[in-house]
Amino acid sequence: MATSESTNIKKIQVRRFKPDENPTSNYLTEERGLWAWMTTVDHKKIGWMYLGSIAIFFAVGGILALLLRTELLTPAQTFFTADAYNQLFTLHGAIMVFFFLVPSVPAALGNFILPLQLGCKDVAFPRVNLLSFYIYVVGALFTLFAIFTGGVDTGWTFYTPYSSSAAGGNVMAMTFGVFILGFSSILTGLNFIVTIHRMRAPGLTWNKLPLFLWALYATSIIQILATPVLAITLLLLTMERLLSIGIFDPALGGDPVLYQHFFWFYSHPAVYIMIVPGFGIISEIISTFSRKHIFGYWAIALSSLAIAFIGFLVWGHHMFVAGQSSLANLVFSFLTFLVGIPTGIKIFNWIATMYKGSIDLKTPMLYVMVFLFLFTIGGFTGIMLGALAVDIHLHDTYYVVAHFHYVMVGGMVMAFLGGLHYWWPKMTGKMYNEMWGRISCAIVFIGFNLTFLPQFVMGSLGMPRRYFNYLEQFQGYHVMSTYGSYILGLGFLMVLIYLTHSIFKGKKAPANPWQSRAMEWQAPSPPPLHNFEHTPVIIHGPYDYHKPMSEFQLGIAGSHNGHGHHEHETETKTVEADK
């Protein structure tokens, strides 16, 4: 940031800039109208557009889930044909993974929060940011086209030879759509890495970086390193269908296991793309609502990077029964256990943060509690599945389905909802209804467990996943699971209703409703178009609750950041900001 300086310490004249309460001019009141929104390069509006899109896909994927759960009420055919059922679970998986989970936290919440936490005006490449949104839209259109021209029934993994020669429907449009989508993810990751490296406000050193940003940084590294491999894999698969190139299709001399290696080289790290940003949200919320410095800052920050690194070495555990060598199985099984270490470090540090804290169980914190409970179950069952001998029994059963729903819905979606509630006042300038927030959280928790706990039981008893018909002995579990999914759906619907209601009728939110020390809360709610009217200067870490609030609201004295004016007059003082 500095143009030329010889020392690591620079003296800057600063003064306090108290954030305005409910400014009349903010990013929502400027650049209005549909066209202005569609062509905006403002990271906050792009975040909103992502949020709207992923909400739509979450709804579509959720409805598909309810339909397929309904079909499973009886052991034989209930409503749908077997082929329709295959399409339902394929689309549910593909939409939820590629169109909701992967972009959910980084592209929607991350886009909004990252520049605010860095104290800068926008991401490093605002136009690339907008481009990545439109790439997402084009990928989504291809997928919708695939759905309406025959659908896809390969499972979300597009395994060959289902996807290369056996499948009906329009696999090519679907895989090409996901191929395009990948570039959106790559560009977002690229943008975030450069922004974190180059755009930090004066004084914001790496050891003061909010843990949400450490998590996004780790996620971005996975995005740029893993997603290109998915891109080439899906391109080869598309070519397999178009030109029969014979790389993956066994009928043409290709190797279907090679496809699985390629696919999981992306898709295993991709589950960390989905969950690691969630970890970042948990760190932010847990410190804010315990009113206490985060315990083990560096341990949490570096464990995100450790997960990103180890995540690249474990893809083979998806292929224990796919014809991999025994030695490879052994090594992958061992490496899989290693993922448990950084994840465990995080869990223990979060618990330690709460210890002797002054815990306030507002809705975001409630979601954190739900997260800790469900994610721990999801994590431990993951260790069990990583154990070679156990996996041979549990492979492709409902136990696996339950495991990744505990991690992805119980972990990731709860973290996402926690983050959404936490930053909602900043994003909208409105407060949601606290009571309805808590009630919905409880309903989601009950519905979730009722849906997926029975799946652990029936999976361990041998119920295979993706089956249309099943033995009558499993019906009780299936019925319980289906009713649970209705309750879960109701919970999500309630969240949608009261959040939407709050936009129009909610109470106005103060700039810092949670009294957090993090940078994004030192901007007004909602923030102005360029986030801060001054150049923020950061002298304390974002979790230093023992320091007075005034020391978190500093900015360069006399600077107007090129936009607008500020009337607050306080005495200036000199601080030493680390570079």
Binding site: T227, M239, I245
Partner: protein
Amino acid sequence: MEQPSTLEKKQDHLQHHFVDSDQQFESAKMGMWIFLVTEILFFGGLFAAYIVFRSWYPELFLLASDHLDTFWGAVNTVVLISSSLTVAMAIRSAQLNQQKGIIINLAITIALAFVFMVIKYFEYTEKFAVGIFPGGYYTYEGIAHDQANIFFSIYYMMTGLHGIHVVVGIGLMVWLLLRARKGHFSSEYYTPVEITGLYWHLVDIIWIFLFPLLYLID
């Protein structure tokens, strides 16, 4: 750090969200380097497929490689390496404020890229003429191996994707040339030239790996 003195003389090219020109330049350069990393992983998948299939059918690769024209492949290697030199010279001209140098060097680079594509076009059409198509459309009978089509699938995928990158590079450099003619670049601001140059070097390096792996293995 934002100083009042730098605020006063903000240049046209400086985007609103950057503090100064250096920050903008460093960001753009870092962004391009990261993009190049993603490109390497993208091609990495193809190289992995190449390794797997070559270890399965070593004799196929030796047989099929004979049908690639080493001479024209070598010519193309020289052409691309020369174009890397000229694009580097365009960057140097920009750093030294030599407007004419930027334009001439970019024009030569574009011309060399076209030469590469023309040679590639003749290589492809020559193969299509005898029925060497990718995958399922392969009809050539001159190679005594059942999986000969897979070698050419890999060949077409690798060189085809590389060719697309060359075409994109030509497009970028035509755009640079138009801007250079309007005098947009100087020693103060030459970021687009610099990062396009980085991209072009990568395209060159990938070819330097493709050439021996496909043409020179007999």
